[in-house]
Symmetry: C2
């Protein structure tokens, strides 16, 4: 069933039809080529703010900025969309401010697609009190108490005006019993229904939970796939699970997902994860890793990474990576970037972030091309 059809099936009133039209106009997924031997696939997610060619890496702009960079620089790097955390925006600057600014796009000066999360992931690590109603938590800024529910998460994501929203879910912590994971999954499903009901504009992805338990993950995949979401998010995978477990979860879940909806993997996207995710049919994936590593001086190279803060780079006048075409590598030496980190200069974090984001975007570009040419496994072999 196409997203358009599925929307049509539940729209009866004039107002519903208008909403449906807005959502249709704003959001659609076109499946491209699927790899012969894996589940890797290309596609295009159409949004009101532009297209996203998939697979696509989604950098994190946690607090309403991809740390240190301007929108123009993100554009140059080939960033197609980025991720903003509803929890962070809710606390600072506050939803009302972004609303007055006419949404995140205008507030930040970014005119391409944006994705927001439900707010769930962050608040579960803040001594949160979870009830069937929602989650009560304390602000990491000032300790004040706040409450998130499926309804408020939908309202706030709509106010932020992102193109892709995530349903409010109970983000199961790692290492819990089957019983607890089941309860958490069931709550996620109840909240998925409430999210869908409360959701008004933008595309909405349902979130699959179920921890590391095959039965639960499959049950959740079927349940969420059966609902009228625009896309599917897989949650609770980045919370301390091993690489092997991530692959397991994807192995169980992906075959049960509808082919015609885009899939997002929440919070996973280290270099060596990317081939696994894509091979299992993920279309988009967000991860703080490339930008976070950059800010501590860990810089990507093909099949490895370097710690630019090490003394051996003090008089190394080559670029971070030979043949890299990023702005940083075209203009600066390892020695200069080492110096900037050594004396804690802001420009260092910026140049490092540019390199790592360039690196991961070029990798994902290559993956897209390889899938289109049926050479995905060859590329994987070349890289890993």
């Amino acid at each position: 069933m196409s997203p358009a059809k599925s929307h049509a099936s539940r729209s009866n009133t004039g107002r519903d039809r208008l909403v449906q039209y807005e959502r249709m106009r704003g959001f659609q997924f076109t499946l491209g080529k699927t790899d012969k031997t894996t589940r890797a696939r290309t596609g295009i997610i159409h949004t009101a703010n532009g297209d996203i060619r998939t697979p696509a890496f989604v950098p994190c702009g946690t607090q309403g900025t991809v740390k240190s960079l301007t929108p123009e620089e993100l554009n140059t790097l080939g960033v197609q969309l980025f991720f903003v955390n509803t929890y962070h925006m809710y606390l600072r600057p506050g939803i009302e401010v972004v609303k007055k600014a006419c949404g995140l796009h205008k507030f930040m000066g970014w005119n391409k697609p944006l994705m927001t999360d439900s707010g769930g992931f962050q608040i579960f690590s803040l001594g949160a009190k979870i009830t069937d109603e929602g989650v009560e938590f304390k602000s990491h800024w000032d300790g004040t108490k706040h409450m998130f529910t499926p309804e408020s998460s939908m309202e706030w994501q709509a106010a932020l005006g992102s193109d892709i929203h995530i349903a409010f879910d109970d983000c199961t912590p790692y290492g819990v019993s089957h019983e607890k994971a089941k309860k958490s999954m069931e709550r996620t499903h109840a909240w998925a229904k409430r999210s869908l009901k409360a959701h008004k504009q933008g595309a909405l992805y349902g979130s699959i939970q179920g921890s590391v338990f095959e039965g639960l993950r499959k049950e959740s995949a079927k349940f969420i796939s059966g609902m009228d979401f625009d896309g599917i998010a897989i949650g609770g995978v980045s919370v301390g699970e091993s690489k092997k477990e991530i692959a397991n979860v994807l192995e169980w879940v992906t075959p049960l997902l509808p082919a015609n909806k885009p899939r997002h993997l929440l919070g996973v996207g280290e270099i060596d994860d990317i081939f696994t995710l894509v091979a299992h049919g993920m279309d988009t994936f967000d991860c703080v890793q490339p930008t976070r590593l950059a800010r501590v001086g860990t810089l990507y190279e093909k099949q490895s990474q370097i710690d630019i803060t090490k003394a051996r780079f003090a008089d190394d006048f080559g670029p971070i990576e030979k043949d890299c075409s990023c702005y940083t590598c075209a203009h600066y030496s390892r020695a200069y970037i080492h110096h900037l980190f050594h004396v804690k200069e802001l420009l260092g974090y910026r140049l490092a972030t540019i390199h790592n984001l360039h690196f991961i975007h070029r990798l994902v570009d290559q993956i897209r091309e390889a899938i289109a040419k049926n050479q995905f496994l060859d590329l994987k072999k070349e890289w890993l």
Copy 2:
């Protein structure tokens, strides 16, 4: 006497002639228009790395970077040259590293003029032990002991490869007795001779000291003016002296300076100082103020400044300054910049720095134009 002539007068051997040729080729000052009623003047400093239209503001790139910005951004802002501190470069990354990089220009990726200081100013605040030989001090990084002399300062500035060097001087602290100021001035003069003798390449500015004492300042101005320097620096003015005292020093000193040599005021350049400096015939002046203020959220406006961290800017969606044509004002609201500062995001410091540097460069552009049209005092009245 033109700089060319003055060089010729002390060049006898073939090697000297070669050095003289290099210096001439690299450095020359063309006096432009002088204001009718004040000493304000325009000019062009020609260097091997390009021309500097004066009056010119000189931003600080203390540690080998104008904090948070790339050379391309500095170019766009109209930055004509910037200042790098020899003391900082000496400690990190170390002179040898910059030498291996073939100088600061290549190391930083900046292909326009650069100015370095003698290293003196910083080390005097580090529990330094001053003898006639030079200054022994402790590194602010690790407390290790180091020694700067006129000879080493010249050697290191040459290795850094800046276009304009400053002679090593005894930077008189504020509030000392006449006797101490005199001794310090005499040492500065002795070191000026040694600096000139040791200096090999690049343009060299002699430094005038003498604290707040009219007699000493005049004596120093005459002494330094009588020597074979390419330009004149006025030192020891920023060290805690009041605005009135700065004007006094300039009032005493400037009439004694040769018109055909460029003059630099060390460490002074707040907005309301600039008209004073220019009125007293200063050609260039460096100051950390615009960039330092930017990083704490203090942003320039005509006739005032705002503290963007204040709560009242949280939902102010106008630009920092109406009609400002800088990148920041063209793209971002006060509310967004307030948010970035509120959550300590790197982009905030960068956007603020861009605005303040744009502001001060446009002001100095206007001053240059006004002098050329004999409207300097009108412009001053309009601004102050």
